[in-house]
């Protein structure tokens, strides 16, 4: 007998109205269709858009399906049954992905803490990036070493260090190291070392 996964089942049952016959499946789906119809009226994810992604926690690489409503708001996140590694399963952390997206504690503004201050101040991206760029330039220019004490070309700055990050995507990692190395950083480290 052909094995129908829950996801296949939902896909198929979703098109039954368009005239799927029993012969296409090879067995009687009537009870299941009734159940599916019931689900469709009850499920939160009715009419939602499903986007596949991969869990952000450990390195097993489990599949997650994120459901968003018409406004693009995340309304559900659950295991991706099509994924060959996880086959729909998630651990407690992966199963809580919804709360990463829908969470009042998320940082939503750029914050700045001035020297000796005891509080954060909300600032704009423009202001913060301008100031960070100026800081980078100041630190780099002050510490830049073109030649070491042996007279060898080293073209580096020992004035800035950076740690990060295994939480970045591959493309972002590549871009990040390119940015840092163009500035002359050698103190570049991240989670893989600890």
């Amino acid at each position: 007998m052909k094995v129908i996964t829950r996801r296949d089942f939902l896909k198929i049952s979703g098109v039954t109205v368009a005239g799927l016959t029993l012969s296409q499946l090879g067995f009687d789906l009537t009870p299941a269709q009734l159940y599916a119809a019931e689900l469709r009226t009850e499920l939160r994810i009715k009419g939602a858009k499903e986007t596949p992604t991969i869990c952000c926690y450990c390195s097993v690489g489990c599949g997650i399906l994120v459901s968003t409503d018409k406004k693009g708001k995340v309304i559900n996140a659950e295991g991706d049954p099509d994924h060959p590694i996880s086959e729909g399963a998630l651990c407690a952390k992966g199963a809580s992905s919804y709360q990463i997206a829908v969470n009042d504690n998320r940082l939503q503004k750029v914050n700045y803490r001035a020297p000796y201050s005891n509080k954060w101040k909300e600032v704009s991206w423009e202001w913060a990036l301008d100031k960070i760029a100026a800081n980078i330039k100041k630190s780099r220019d002050k510490s830049f070493t073109e030649k070491n004490t042996d007279g060898k070309v080293v073209n580096r700055t020992n004035g800035i260090a950076s740690v990060g990050s295994a939480a970045l995507d591959n493309e972002e990692c590549w871009l990040y190291q390119k940015l840092l190395r163009s500035l002359g950083l050698v103190y570049i480290e991240h989670q893989a070392r600890i």
Partner: protein, 798 residues
Amino acid sequence: MGSNVAENHPVSFKWIEAARAKGAIFIHVDPRFTRTSAKADIFARLRSGTDIAFLGGMIKYILDNNLYDEFYVKNYTNASYIVSPKYGFDDGLFSGYNPSKRSYDQSMWAIEKDENGIPKQDMTLQNERCAFQLLKKHYSRYTLEKVTAITGTPQEDLEKVYKVYGSTGKPDKAGTELYAMGWTQHTVGVQNIRAMSIIQSLLGNMGVAGGGINALRGESNVQGSTDQGLLFHIVPGYLPTPRAQWAKLEDYNKTTPSTKDTRSVNWWKNRPKYVASLLKSFYGDKAAKNNDFCYEWLPKLEPTQDASWLNLFDEMYKGTFTGFFAWGMNPACSSANAGKVRQALGKLDWMVNVNLFDNETGSFWKGPDIDPTKIKTEVFQLPCAAFLEKEGSISNSGRWMQWRWKATNPPGDAMPDGEIMNDLFKKVQALYKKEKGVFPDPILNLKWDYETNGKFDIHKVAKEINGYFLEDIPEHPVDKKAYKKGTLVPSFVFLLDDGRTSCGNWIYSASYTEAGNMAARRKKTDPTGLGLYPEWSWAWPVNRRIIYNRASVDLEGKPRDANRQLLKWDAENKKWVGDIPDGPAPPMGTQGVYPFIMKPDGVASIFGPGLKDGPFPEHYEPLECPIEKNLMSGQRINPAVKIFEGGLDTFATCDPRYPFVCTTYRVTEHWQTGVLTRWLPWLTEAEPQMFCEMSQELATLRGISNGDRVLVETSRGKVEAVAIATLRLKPFVIGGQTIHQIGIPWHFGWLHPKDGGDSANLLTPTIGDPNTMIPESKAFMANVTKITKQPTKKVKKA
């Protein structure tokens, strides 16, 4: 060993269960009885930090009982290779040791070569200087009695494990090892893994389906971030970071691994092509053959400089840096000796902290016992997008590069990290253009064109990493075909060292080609039936799912395990069938090549002369340990570790103030420092606070009951926790004395949730493995006492 897979990589555990259902035997060796142990067929307990003794005993058992795979050992490892007579080992020290530098002269351990530069061999394995005989001699000292005395593991448990695991030395059997930080976070971390790689090589378990040594990594993209070179010593694709002594590209290329043995592929011989292509991806048109592809612009390390994590924070503590990025990281909780890190952050002029949530690093200036009015550090906290709010790829522990699609927009002003980098670099470049500055060339001339219609485009970066042809190539030397300028390269095989190709990371070349984005594939065919799924996502290199797979076949290319046919040679059509082979060369017996193509000699290392602390793993005690003398030799700790001393770097061995062995670990519901998970109500409800597990015997000894508040202390710091007196931990008898072990999770921090407790890393020492400098967080000495007074609020009002 070295992992708790059921709790820390739970979904992978379903495959262990599936294997058990098919008759596999599952062994768990750990200081603590965990949920993994509960599911194991055999559980053996060992004291933290004694894995090499345990594994050394297994090596001896395999050799004594002739359980090794003789064909594999002779043909696919260096067991038959003759080692220099300068090699020696005496009372815990290998030859070539310099006590004042705490380092070895590794040239003393070389493999002998004949007049043509080919390693000398004795295929009978009888020569007393062949690696096999040296191995036998070295591990003859690891008797069951000795191992039990060191590890605390009962002899019958040792024998049970050795016998079962040793049974995988037959070609139709496979054994695999799953390790995690339980192995890496030791002063002998690399040698823990080396010991297992010797066992796997003896048993013929490398490069076969169901074999290998698998790192269960703790971050979703820590494989990818390492591949992309986010470490001081490597640039993308594991190319060494340039150093001052390699002034010209020619000098750098002179360090390319080489061999005179024509049967060794030595794939690294292609390195100059990858370096030239990388430099083109950095500097574009400015990089030309006649200017060394701007190699000079890349920053260079001092000849022997180690700029790794512990040294980085040591330098920060000394005031070396004025600026610092903590991008998607929380070192105020994740670093060993975190108290030192928190002090170090106050010595900066400025810090940029990019994260999803507020964290102990960004807010260090208002942390416990810190007065903000005395902290000069200017802090920028930038909000970034979460994984489901952006597009891009990550690479899992099996090297599968999986694409993630964007489901929703980030909240408020939060931006994807890639966009932040793009905007920031443009600002820096504009500033240098406007104001000039010191040596602006590498900044002004950096190739930075990752936008489409004025918007950052991650696909452009993905293509940059894959690489493309920079000129029309009428007849490519590899396949004699023509390639147009701008065409994405089909794979790294097509990269050139003359500047006609660009490639950001050679190992990811073939991931985004003219055929499309390979990481985004979702087809579930499995032609080998081994669960390789070659059309689901993409695996580096060149979609090879099991590396060194040529070791799974015999000299004629026939699978050695008929039931698990990973690869086989189709002699008629002269090609390999199955997984992507490690190169197209025919089988070894038909003028083919050795299987371990990334090793200069082409074979697995039974004798490993490349590590800083010796060619064979040897048991040493952790930096902080409960016994005065190493029962194995006169060297108590690893002779090659760097000792950090003074200031906040203290340690205490056999100190009655810190009598218990302590280890850190994780729980299912939290991740790393808890920087994400502590902010999710569902998870904090399940695991709300710091705790300390101890045996019931120790609890009784210290008058502690389940649920009591306790203070865990080391010479570096203290942390409050809730006591769990449990059967999961048991006292050990080591060298005749009772030794207690305690355990604490490292997911907490003072910022959130309130009263959740602070970081376990306030307790851990600044000490690292000599090869990797990964800190020893899995074995250190601590004290635990009951807190009798009411809890005091430690968190200050900001």
